[in-house]
Amino acid sequence: VDERARAIEQLYRERFAGYCDALTGVTGDRERARDAVQEAFARALHKRRRLRRDESLAPWVWTIAFRIALDNRPRQGLARPELNEPALPDSARDPELAEAIRSLPPRRRLIVFLRYFADFSYGEIADACQVTEGTVAATLAHAHDALRTTLTTEHVEGGRR
């Protein structure tokens, strides 16, 4: 087994669920997200030698999955809000967090998902979203501030600490 194949398998075992969670936030459909992630890892394995030496594996696979998910969206649903408006999957389990996420601009939501669902480093997020690490750090800092305010306020109003 070559090194890249081994690295792809290891990435799969470590982050499959996280990729699915993050992508579900984009597609709004867990099964569609899961299928896209499966297909993305298969394509990555099949085309692994196309990965440039200076390219990080995790964002490369994510980008493949993201494109597959968008390409496979239902034709009548091109304007479906969940594609442009990433949302917390299974929001009923944490409606406060879901509401707080909704308060963020879509781009920040995706970065938050990649950070906390898919466990991406700042550098990996930067590669996946084609932005600088500084932008990632600033975006996450803003997201933290916004979410901390929202969640803390809701906790206080709800009598929870």
Binding site: V1, Y12, R13, V37, L45, L97, V112, S121, H144, R148
Partner: protein, 246 residues
Amino acid sequence: MTEMNDKQSLLAGRFEALKARDPGDWKAVRVRVRRMRRQRAAVVGAVTLATAVLAAPAFSIGERLADLIQGSPAPLEVQAYFVANDELRREMLARRADAGQELHDQFSPVIADEARGVFAIDAQQGPTYLWAAPTEDGRQCWLIQTGTRPATGRPFGTSSCDGTEESPAFSPGIIAWADLPNVVIVHVRVHDEAIARVDVEIDGRPAVALPVAAGHALGSVAKGERVSAFVGRNTEGDEVARFTVG
């Protein structure tokens, strides 16, 4: 907040509680890969002739081009060889102590009636053919045929199949037969689709380029010459993979 500590944040904890515990299905990923390889093999098969014609000047090492197989189905004798070989593989695997799921994973029936010619070179004692057939899960089996038994018409030579392990960029081999007293056959099973040709580096003379078709490269080298390395190159001539002969 820094990258180091934002994972300990309130936010991170809330997300952690929502994460799915789905381990995925790695085997299903590999099945998809095999399907992709099989689809690719079918496409490559359709363009094999064109590839071979374009590459004809470098087709054999110092010998004339014997024939180009038109990509049409292999003769019935060759198809029968694949079928018989399949049975042999099945029997051998069935005897393994760890048969079961392992057997299921390793063995995939060959589709003999989809066998096709990939190369034919003149290896001094007559033509040497390379026939390839897909397996049901998208791998390949192949036969390098050096002759035909007069009594039965059955081809003989050496055959092999792709393993289930993830493949390296390419797998070179040097094959010597008593029937071929003057040459050895060099065969390279190429898995990396970026590799368009394989350079065979030989001590004391320039490297010889073999074209890749349907995931194979085939040539011959005079006995006594020492092959020092196989180098896979892309269409631009850049090195993609190298195997140094020890």
